[in-house]
Symmetry: C2
Subunit: 295 residues, 2 copies
């Protein structure tokens, strides 16, 4: 492990209206953070288009892309050109009628270093992901890169301590969450505050419980359906927290923003020595975690 | 479930110097919160004496008490007299040379309603609990009372998402943590801030991940060994948070304090409908949670 801190960049963006425009914005952002010394870049969930799941519409599957494919070649080229590790997020077309919500990691090469298929799939009004995404079948497996062992998860996974723990138990040195989460315009300001605070708190909790840093990159902007019957205001607030859950950097709620943070992966060793939670897990008494409910 | 909010009281106290003086302080506090309408009272961890584990000393086992015994009779009498549910915390002498760190719940009766024996046992400088406490053998089983199904856990358990999840899966409607946690006087102010913030954050995270409220009652005061070679400054900060992790009430760091909060247990139904985390758990992919490490 490097004795230097890892320079991590998050690109918080809105939807620019087309795959080409979104990839061009990523290209600009990645060049910029590379010039500022970033080694690892985390993109937001499904960054190539608007959030696709606000309604159930078979035509939306046309947006899905093969992996590998043109988008992975484009982003992999950036990783190679700029000597970066990049975590991308794509709507994967795996086979006819079989789609996933998939993160793709590049390690300073056009070749794909590893992928993660979203394991926990949400479904609630405006987020009809169960219609689109087949639950992941690769389990909770971190991806080894030249900058560290990355526990890449996706959005809804961030509410599950099980996912974070399984990544940590497999050696993940940092948790990374490409995300697309926002407010229902019908929610009042108190509910909005509680939701945003809950979102950061639960992820900071994963950092603490596992003694590793965490970062989430979320989109911003108001996205509506063509008939304007629904809409989501994505709340941005992309952040990086350390292994005690301490906030290292955070973006605002309504602007494209680059978050840059120095993350000292070696600090986990020190933190886990004073808070050795992995030592004391009662694995003899956890078997009911494999049940839906203990009734 | 009652349509009225549950009035919960936490008694944050220092060590008064003797079992008799500590029980007298509890008696006064419980009478006071009963007069203010409390229905459920949460006491701090091992409230009958100073925190016993700052050194390893066989004489300290003399402080352990049988359950049932004089202390449970005293506290049970209060529960009966004042028509209260009380969560107490005792150094249990179970058999010759067999001791536990045990929570005891009374439900408006002198009879014991249920007990929980601390499952996760810490051990670090100043907190030599592995010397004193045999790990609990009753599992993570909530205790049903007239005010709700209580997920009673103890201190070090609060760092374990597994414990909170198992309680929630067994029907716990609220998580309750009697606690004794504090700062090492050698830690600087930034480290103190990170530790206290981590402590509240990880527990608020359990509330969020499970959609149920959480409360922790911690002691205050500086406690030193007789030879003054060591000491802990217990940081108080007892708190109650709702099912989205939102802080409902919190005490300060250095005074005895009563925390009173109205907790609407029915709100969990609403919160879990919008954030149905229990629905989407990938129990098919969690089996490695039963491993010490995935190597």
């Amino acid at each position: 492990m490097s004795s230097e801190p890892l320079k991590l960049a998050l690109l918080q963006e809105f939807d620019h209206g087309s795959v080409a425009a979104n990839l061009a914005a990523i290209d600009r952002g990645v060049h910029r953070v590379a010039s500022e010394g970033a080694q690892l870049v985390l993109l937001q969930e499904l960054h190539n288009g608007p959030y696709p799941c606000q309604s159930e519409d078979t035509k939306v599957f046309d947006r899905a892309e093969p992996i590998p494919g043109p988008s992975t070649e484009r982003i992999g080229s950036l990783a190679k050109e700029l000597d970066l590790v990049i975590v991308a997020s794509l709507f994967e077309r795996r086979a006819t009628g079989l789609y996933h919500n998939t993160a793709v990691v590049f390690d300073r090469s056009i070749e794909i270093c590893g992928i993660y298929r979203k394991m926990h799939i949400p479904d609630d009004p405006g987020f009809y992901e169960k219609f689109y995404f087949t639950p992941g079948d690769l389990g909770f497996t971190p991806i080894q890169t030249s900058v560290g062992c990355l526990g890449v998860l996706l959005c809804w996974d961030q509410w599950y301590p099980e996912a974070a723990r399984l990544m940590a138990l497999a050696g993940a040195e940092i948790l990374l969450y490409p995300t697309a989460i926002g407010w229902d315009p019908a929610d009042d300001s108190l509910e909005r505050h509680r939701q945003l605070e809950a979102w950061t708190t639960v992820q900071r909790g994963h950092a603490i419980a596992n003694g590793i840093p965490v970062a989430a990159c979320n989109r911003i902007g108001i996205e509506t359906l063509p008939d304007h019957t629904q809409g989501i205001r994505f709340w941005g607030s992309s952040f990086v927290a350390g292994p005690q859950g301490e906030m290292l950097a955070q973006a605002g709620v309504d602007q494209p923003e680059i978050v840059l943070a120095d993350v000292d992966l070696r600090r986990s060793e020190k933190v886990r020595r004073i808070w050795p939670f992995l030592r004391d897990r009662r694995i003899d008494a956890y078997s009911d975690l494999l049940k839906r409910y203990r009734d």
